[in-house]
């Protein structure tokens, strides 16, 4: 895998910190929740930015593979992904929601791609002669397909959960002053 598609060591360290603090907070350790909140506030924007970058580059690779060198198909797929992203993310999504949307879209495209790959392998006929991969490799693709599909479903579920969570916390607080005493 190319280096630009990997999360940097610095970001990995931040993720590790978030993971450890989540564990501690889940276990009910005193003060861990406050620490976690601080870590989320400090590191989430940067990690989200890095992950969004990976998502964007990953999309380009997936689109390129699915289009197979056809520029029209490439454009169509790109537009389709943009549309999906808008539909799923909705209006003014939070950075985390936007990232989760990217995850759903990536998983969807990968599921479609792997499905196309396996369908092609299951075809028979003269045109498929010498194009079949060995069974061991086909098994591997099936495994990838299965785990990607599972990830796709989880990604959608998590997005819904985060949305529900964020709905409960108002972003803007309105204070209205009412004067009851008449002059």
């Amino acid at each position: 895998m190319s280096k630009e598609l990997e999360v940097s060591n610095e970001t990995k360290a931040k993720l590790r910190e978030l993971r450890i603090l989540s564990d501690k907070a889940e276990a009910g350790e005193k003060g861990a929740r406050r620490e976690l909140r601080r870590a989320i506030r400090n590191s989430t924007p940067e990690v989200v930015a890095k992950a969004s970058d990976i998502a964007r580059k990953g999309h380009m690779i997936l689109i390129g593979a699915a289009a197979g060198g056809d520029p029209l198909m490439k454009e169509a797929l790109s537009a389709r992904l943009d549309l999906m992203r808008t539909q799923i993310a909705g209006e003014s999504p939070s950075p985390l929601e936007a990232l989760l949307t990217d995850r759903v879209v990536s998983c969807w495209l990968l599921v479609e791609l792997l499905e196309a790959l396996t369908s092609a392998q299951l075809q028979t006929g003269e045109h498929m002669k010498d194009k079949h991969v060995p069974d061991s490799f086909l098994k591997l693709i099936f495994k990838w397909q299965e785990s990607t599909h599972r990830r796709y479903l989880t990604a959608m579920r998590e997005l819904a959960r985060i949305r529900k969570l964020q709905r409960g916390t108002p972003e803007v607080q309105y204070n209205t002053q009412i004067n009851l005493r008449s002059e």
Binding site: L18, L36, A51, I54, I61, L99, R103, L113, V133, R151
Partner: protein, 104 residues
């Protein structure tokens, strides 16, 4: 696997394969039969080599598609989990549940 020189003179083609974890040698023969078996095995070996190279290439191609998605998935997973724990969720038997509000 290969040709053996016999003490009486002449060559003999043998094959070795694993049966239940033990190496078993199969004595094929000398002369034309041995020659044909050797060529057949050579062709099989070549075919397997080409197949392995193809699988290696295909695997790298598919992995290049899968890995960025997995990477994105894992990063998002950590962020999601942190947000959920911070938001009062906890995992119960692998499922996320909202903690009950404490009564005051």
């Amino acid at each position: 696997m290969g040709w053996e020189n016999r003490e009486r003179g002449g060559r003999y083609y043998t094959r070795s394969r694993k049966v239940d974890g033990r190496v078993v040698r199969e004595y094929v023969g000398g002369g034309l039969i041995g020659e044909l078996a050797a060529r057949f095995d050579e062709a099989e070996r070549e075919k397997r080599k080409v197949e392995a190279a193809m699988v290696h290439l295909e695997r790298a191609r598919v992995e290049a598609l899968v890995v960025p998605v997995v990477e994105l998935y894992e990063v998002t997973e950590v962020l999601c989990r942190a947000a959920l724990v911070d938001g009062g969720y906890r995992r119960y038997q692998g499922k996320w549940r909202r903690k009950r509000e404490q009564r005051t």
